[in-house]
């Protein structure tokens, strides 16, 4: 009974905020954010688990989920970017330079992720669930992101290569097919790896 009242209250609040936000044009983004958060929460999606569980427990279920989500977004973004190319508008999506800066950032993020036990999105979800422990992650996350932002230009100026946008060189068909085949290969490797040993 208590739970039903709470759900109803939440639903009413959701609709009220949606109506208010509608006037400012940000309603759609907010609703999409809330719904994505709900899905994340329900499916227990976790980028930290995707890598950690595969190595520690030979459990690649989340790893495979990440690979599938990348495959879906490959097709989605290909359509979006192809369409934007046709209309001549700016190409949507973050097309960023790859270099040692990416590797250094990934390594640092990985250390933080393992210590915290979660990635940047799942810690917000767990904080929302009521885990006070993740408040400390938030305290670490805010100055960490700020420091990263302040140093970003330095990293990029020293280490990175200008962005290489594959469709410019290979064409759309080949790019999408090669990317999907690579992801499929990774999926099969994970599947195989799961069956090999018992983990740590």
């Amino acid at each position: 009974m208590k739970r039903k009242i709470l759900t109803l209250l939440l639903l009413v609040t959701f609709i009220i905020i949606l109506v208010i936000a509608w006037e400012h044009g940000s309603s759609l983004y907010w609703a999409a954010g809330v719904l994505l958060g709900f899905i994340l929460h329900r499916c227990r999606f976790c980028f930290a688990a995707a890598f950690r569980d595969l190595i520690m427990f030979r459990d690649g279920s989340v790893t495979r989920a990440v690979i599938i989500s990348l495959a879906i977004s490959t097709v989605g973004f290909a359509l979006l970017q192809y369409y934007s190319g046709l209309t001549g508008s700016d190409v949507p999506g973050n097309i960023e330079a790859v270099g040692v800066n990416t590797m250094a950032g990934a390594f640092l993020f990985g250390i933080g992720m393992v210590i915290a036990g979660c990635c940047a999105c799942s810690f917000l979800m767990r904080l929302g669930e009521g885990f006070i422990l993740f408040l400390f992650v938030l305290i670490g996350m805010l100055p960490g992101s700020l420091l990263g932002l302040l140093h970003r230009q330095w990293w990029e100026s020293i280490w990175s290569h200008p962005p290489v946008y594959f469709p410019d060189y290979l064409g759309w068909g080949i790019t999408v097919v090669v990317q999907l085949l690579t992801l499929m290969g990774l999926y099969l490797i994970v599947r195989r790896w799961e069956k090999t040993e018992r983990g740590i």
Binding site: R44, A49, R52, D53, M56, G117
Partner: protein, 76 residues
């Protein structure tokens, strides 16, 4: 009827609950013994169920309090 062991991992986050469960089940429990894992981390419940099923152990979950679960793993 096997022996019962209790593992309290309340407040612990991944990967600690599954890691400790795994250590205890593989090292301390004999066949037929049951480990009662108490956790408040939803992802860990899923993890422990998946791991137990993969290794053929019998597993059962009960919600002992709001957002607090007891995962019962019986070693095969």
């Amino acid at each position: 009827m096997g022996k019962k062991y209790v593992l309290d991992v309340l407040g612990e986050v991944c990967p600690v609950p599954l890691f400790k469960t795994k250590e205890k089940v593989t090292r301390e429990l004999s066949s037929g013994d049951t480990l009662l894992v108490e956790t408040d981390f939803p992802r860990a419940v899923r993890n422990i169920i998946d791991w137990s099923e993969k290794h053929g152990h019998h597993v059962k979950v009960i919600e002992i309090d709001e957002a607090c679960w007891q995962v019962q793993v019986t070693k095969k």
